[in-house]
Amino acid sequence: MENGGNGNGVAAVNYESKATSTITIKGILSLLMQSIDDEKNDAENNKRVISLGMGDPTLYSCFHTTNVSEEAVADTLLSHKFHGYAPTAGLPQTRQEIAEYLSRDLPYQLSSDDVFITCGCTQAIDVSVAMLARPGANILLPRPGFPIYELCAAFRQVEVRHYDLLPEKGWEVDLDAIEALADQNTVALVIINPGNPCGNVYTYDHLEKIAQTAKRIGTIVIADEVYGHLAFGTNPFVPMGVFGFTVPVITLGSLSKRWIVPGWRLGWFVTTDPSATFKKPKVVERIKKYFDLLGGPATFIQAAVPHIINKTEESFFKKTIDNLRLTSDICCKEIEEIPCIFCPHKPEGSMAMMVKLNISLLEDISNDIDFCFKLAKEESVIILPGTAVGLKDWLRITFAADPSALVEGLKRIKAFCQRHARKCLKQY
């Protein structure tokens, strides 16, 4: 694939192959949007666009952040006290607040030294991959997953090895695959819980098994908890840090999803590691040195975090959960009525779900990408082809939308499927 680096193995990357071979979610979604625009220009088809493609709930009015956060940020901004540089690891009060916030659900206490503030969870992902990159390293990523991990790994010359999530088992991790894939160069196992794109929320037992497997193969866990606490089904959200005594865990998170402010770019990289593997001076030094190179989020937004975390009302959180439960129910119900789409596991958390496309039931559709492009053109509905997240002939549907838009969108998908159904089956 790529040309190699110099003797130190630091990244020297061939960007052309990267641009064509790695699909980004935003990239595909914008291509889908474009095909709608092109269509609109010449056809009379002027339906309003319904996007069920991106994990950005702010597009819909029923998902809106609390006044508490908006006021907190306005306050810190207009105080004029936070125009200066923040320390590279983050403002002390912000680090302290997040340490306390996360510790509420852990059997040990985090200190502010464990917390590093990042520009959104995206940057936290980039930092964790960059920290671990070394010559010959490989990282275990879930499939389906979140393609930013693949992109970061490619840029840092870390080999990616995919383990499967099992749809028939509630999208649980294939633990045998993990043991088979790991070797002495495996630097981390990434899990995303609550799950994007699958909408799963792992049980305590399953997370424990993951921790034990990681310990057995001698690798740390990167727990992407960007959807932390967004669990609306029967399984409660359990942070991976709970198993920090078993295996060192790096926890990634942000305000983006739980507080519905993805545009604010406030995230964290946290060493949830009571056995202090990451506290060795050399390791801490390296993490700090890396953060010295980064810009970090705006100081005044960092300064607003303690107020945001402390003063957000329970009722706001509950409202979000109720909305997600409602919209995921709607989504599943509507999908039941579409023969060529099958949902193997009702989502219990996050904002998206994976459904399988039965191509054989469709007349002139070759795969999931074809499906999504034709759907966009004909019905002005956007959903993500599963290929973008690693599963061909599946679809990712984001259900964090206004119920009316969701119902309308799914009805159009149903109409589309009926129109394209294989003729001999239309008799049924």
Binding site: N6, K26, T58, C119, T219, I260, F278, R286, P297, A298
Partner: protein, 416 residues
């Protein structure tokens, strides 16, 4: 005790120290006996006289309150922000920029973080100024770019040593970096000199990365000239931010601008590389981007010139006071940016080994923080910032003078 396969990125181990890192070391040496005076960091908010124009905060607050900008921003930036920056930069350029030439970043720090790996093909090298800004060295090391240093000449107003530049370049040289106005030297390059640099770059077949984070912070006789003026001679990538001119470093808003009328960045794939890398990098908050058009358009000349006057006064005061300290030599009166380089005449000092030793002892004895020049590439020099109010500068320089007198070689002391 189990062995975990976590060894961390070796590239970071061998990388150069960072400005903020050394700052931490000095902070640990500092004695609390006196009130600390910081002449080490270029955070303009340290100076209480510098106030950000309230227009900026109001614009951002309005955008935040509207609730329309809580969503993820587009990868390269909100279109209105890109357009506003293009228009703002084009005011001083013969070849107008379009929105597509602008990529919005999390401060100029992130602009550096993005642009260096873009040039990192196997075996490539990049030419950096010495003295310079250490983030470039560190970032280059992390992406496998070999670094070669060309000199800035203290006795020629810190101009680029064009001969050393030419001697260093070979067929693997991809680009050169120029910090203009200069951090740490405090000089503003002339039009003629920048043109010569562009012509040299063209001759060598390399791009110019012009770090213009201190754009328009020029308070002497030389006006600020953006390198983009010469983009038809050699393609230029300009880095900038609102941190210094608008006194808002904590807001983390910057940009990469491709000044390239002949479309060379498109042809060579550089533009595609920048765009690729931006897929995984983060961004400034959407609501801040939304406020940028207003911030760039409405802030008035009075605000700029007031801040420039303050900076000029501080720089002049600093320069005059340096003249009173024989063991410190300031070869060029600062006329731009926010810091100046000063050489330690070690032959006139006793009991101090080098610049780091000087600064540690200074922190201990006088609670005064100055950056040792080794951090920026010049051992036994000092980088002194003047982004402070006059009284702090006077106090700081008094302590510096006392320190130097105390440590002066015996023969000097007697004659003083």
């Amino acid at each position: 005790m189990e062995k975990w396969k976590f060894q961390g990125n070796q590239g970071l181990k061998s990388s150069a120290v960072s400005v903020r890192g050394v700052f931490n070391v000095l902070m640990q040496s500092i004695s609390k006996e006196k009130e600390v005076v910081r002449l080490c960091r270029v955070d303009p908010t340290d100076n209480p006289l510098f106030s950000a124009d309230p227009v900026a905060a109001h614009a951002v607050s309005t955008a935040a309150h509207s609730g329309n900008f809580n969503c993820y921003p587009p990868t390269f930036g909100l279109p209105q922000a890109r357009r506003a920056i293009a228009e703002y930069l084009s005011r001083d350029l013969p070849n107008k920029l379009s929105a597509e030439d602008i990529y919005v970043t999390d401060g100029a720090t992130q602009a550096i973080d993005i642009i260096l790996p873009v040039f990192a093909t196997p075996g490539a090298n990049i030419l950096l100024p010495r003295p310079g800004y250490p983030q470039y060295e560190t970032r280059a090391a992390l992406c496998g770019l070999e670094v070669r240093h060309f000199d800035l000449l203290p006795n020629s107003s810190w101009e680029v040593d064009i001969d050393s530049l030419e001697a260093l370049a070979d067929d693997k040289t991809v680009a050169m970096v120029l910090i203009s106005p200069s951090n740490p030297c405090g000089n503003v390059f002339t039009y003629q000199h920048l043109k010569r640099v562009a012509e040299t770059a063209r001759k060598l077949g390399i791009f110019v990365i012009s770090d213009e984070v201190y754009a328009h912070i020029a308070f002497g006789s030389n006006p600020f000239v953006p390198m983009g003026v010469f983009s038809s001679i050699a393609p230029v990538i300009t880095l900038g931010s609102i941190s210094k001119r608008w006194i808002l470093p904590g807001w983390r808003f910057g940009w990469i601008a491709t000044c390239d009328p002949h479309g060379i960045f498109q042809k060579t794939g550089i533009a595609a590389n920048i765009e690729s890398y931006m897929e995984i990098t983060s961004d400034p908050p959407t609501f801040m981007q939304a406020a940028i058009p207003e911030i760039l358009e409405r802030i008035n000349d009075e605000f700029y010139s007031k801040n420039l006057d303050i900076t000029r006064e501080a720089a002049n005061a600093l320069y005059e006071r340096f003249k009173e300290i024989p063991s410190l030599i300031c070869p060029h009166k600062p006329d731009g940016a926010m810091a100046v380089m000063v050489q330690i005449n070690l032959s006139q000092i006793e009991g101090i080994a080098d610049d780091v030793d000087f600064c540690v002892k200074l922190a201990k004895e006088e609670s005064l923080l100055i950056l040792p020049g080794v951090i920026v590439g010049l051992k036994n020099w000092l980088r002194v910032s003047f982004g402070l109010e006059r009284s702090a500068i006077e106090e700081g320089l008094s302590r510096l003078k006392a320190f130097c007198l105390r440590h002066a070689k015996m023969s000097q002391q007697i004659s003083a």
